[in-house]
């Protein structure tokens, strides 16, 4: 018993110090000799996000990150969903390189031609951390508009300012784990968003679940309140 307790506390300590490597039996990346494999981190919110969507018949999922083939397969097979891949990190990168960041709020405001409530789930990943406040606000308003009542939005938010500049591809290993694959970025995160700032930004959505992971990443799952009953008066939302 004592041994088990000791081993647990040691593994706890290691998980605080750094990312968890793939355990036996888990999918392992094929890497060239001498190359560090991408680290795998636990996720608490992804399972909840999936459970929000499984009840729906052929849900529509909007992925704001770069296309990841295995994620497309995972979500397609898990949910039988239609996936829209809109790499907003690439949009951000393009605007940075052109020196046109001032135009980004207007760009995001016009970025999505879809009708209101056209999407059941949104994978926002950690995109908002890389945007300045006006741009993040413009994007949050669009995402809120796109989300269908009862739909879910998953966002990641850092709690520490990283020194290096990179984006991260989040590659789904399974419902409880994500592989983090960094790739180059023109600039880093723009600051740490406080919880109340995030909640204000997504006015119109409710925080369903919020997790602070040992890796200091906050995972927040938003839900859009369901549509009112047919006989209820319109809220004008």
């Amino acid at each position: 018993m004592a041994g088990s307790g000791t081993s647990r506390s040691i593994s706890d300590l290691f998980s605080r110090l750094g990312p968890r490597r793939a355990a036996a039996g888990e999918p392992e990346a094929v890497v060239a000799p001498g190359v560090e494999p991408d680290p795998i981190f636990p996720t608490k919110a992804l399972r909840k996000f999936l459970s929000c969507l499984t009840a729906r018949e052929s849900p529509v999922l909007l992925d704001l990150g770069p296309v990841v083939g295995s994620n497309v397969s995972f979500f397609g097979e898990q949910l039988g969903c239609k996936i829209l891949v809109e790499d907003l990190y690439a949009d951000l990168e393009r605007h940075i390189r052109r020196g046109a960041l001032d135009a980004l709020p207007a760009f995001f405001a016009a970025r999505f031609p879809q009708a209101d409530g056209a999407v059941d789930g949104i994978l926002c990943w950690d995109l908002l951390d890389y945007l300045d406040r006006p741009t993040a606000q413009a994007l949050a308003e669009q995402l809120t508009r796109l989300l269908r009542p009862d739909g879910a939005l998953l966002g990641f938010f850092g709690t520490m300012q990283p020194r290096d500049t990179h984006y991260t591809k989040y590659i789904v290993v399974d419902e409880g784990h994500l592989r983090h694959r960094p790739y180059s970025a023109a600039r880093g995160r723009q600051g740490i968003l406080l919880n109340r700032e995030i909640i204000r930004m997504f006015e119109g959505l409710l925080v369903s679940d919020s997790f602070l992971l040992k890796t200091n990443l906050r995972e927040i799952l938003f839900r859009k309140p369901g549509s009112p009953a047919p006989d209820a008066p319109s809220s004008g939302a």
């Binding site: 094929v30 052929s58 296309v67 990841v68 083939g69 295995s70 497309v72 397969s73 397609g76 097979e77 039988g80 969903c81 239609k82 996936i83 829209l84 891949v85 809109e86 790499d87 590659i171």
Partner: protein, 162 residues
């Protein structure tokens, strides 16, 4: 000796059954066929190989609606792609359009913009009733189809997805 002769005959038969649209070929219109096809040239319009595999080679440039059993993309496709079995976008392959297929594989270095619809139920696509032979082309062809080289099996970098 007889075994070697048989092997050569079999290979010749396979090569005869594969059709390759070469780099210099430009097709505008509708392309139907009942055998596997590799496109290295340019096609604009519509491509239907409902029972067969369509490979867009590294030099292939397609602006078309594509319907096939399986589609392998090593070049560029602009347009919607529907496959009854699988769509495979290899390293450096590019698709701008919507994909409908029960299985989709997108390699790490591939470009994709659009939607992916991996419907759970198989989409019963009607087979195109045509005898085996050269693909039927309706529209403009600006060069002759060239004899088929060995099938391209370009394998990209690390594959993501399956």
């Amino acid at each position: 000796m007889a075994g070697a002769r048989l092997d050569m005959d079999a290979r010749t038969q396979i090569e005869r059954d594969m059709v390759n649209i070469g780099k210099s070929v430009v097709i505008k219109g509708e392309l139907n066929g009942s055998e596997d096809l590799t496109i290295e040239g340019h096609v604009e319009g519509k491509i239907e190989l409902r029972e067969h595999v369509l490979t867009i080679g590294p030099n292939g440039r397609i602006k078309a609606q594509v319907f096939a059993k399986a589609v392998i993309v090593l070049g560029e496709v602009t347009g919607n792609v529907t496959a009854t079995e699988k769509v495979d976008i290899r390293d450096n392959g590019s698709v701008d359009g919507d994909i409908v297929a029960p299985r989709v594989a997108i390699a790490e270095g591939a470009h994709f913009r659009g939607t992916v619809d991996m419907q759970r139920k198989g989409q019963g696509a009607p087979a195109v009733a045509r005898p085996a032979g050269q693909p039927e082309v309706k529209g403009d062809v600006k060069a002759a189809a060239v004899p088929a080289p060995p099938p391209p099996q370009a394998q990209g970098g690390p594959r993501v997805g399956a």
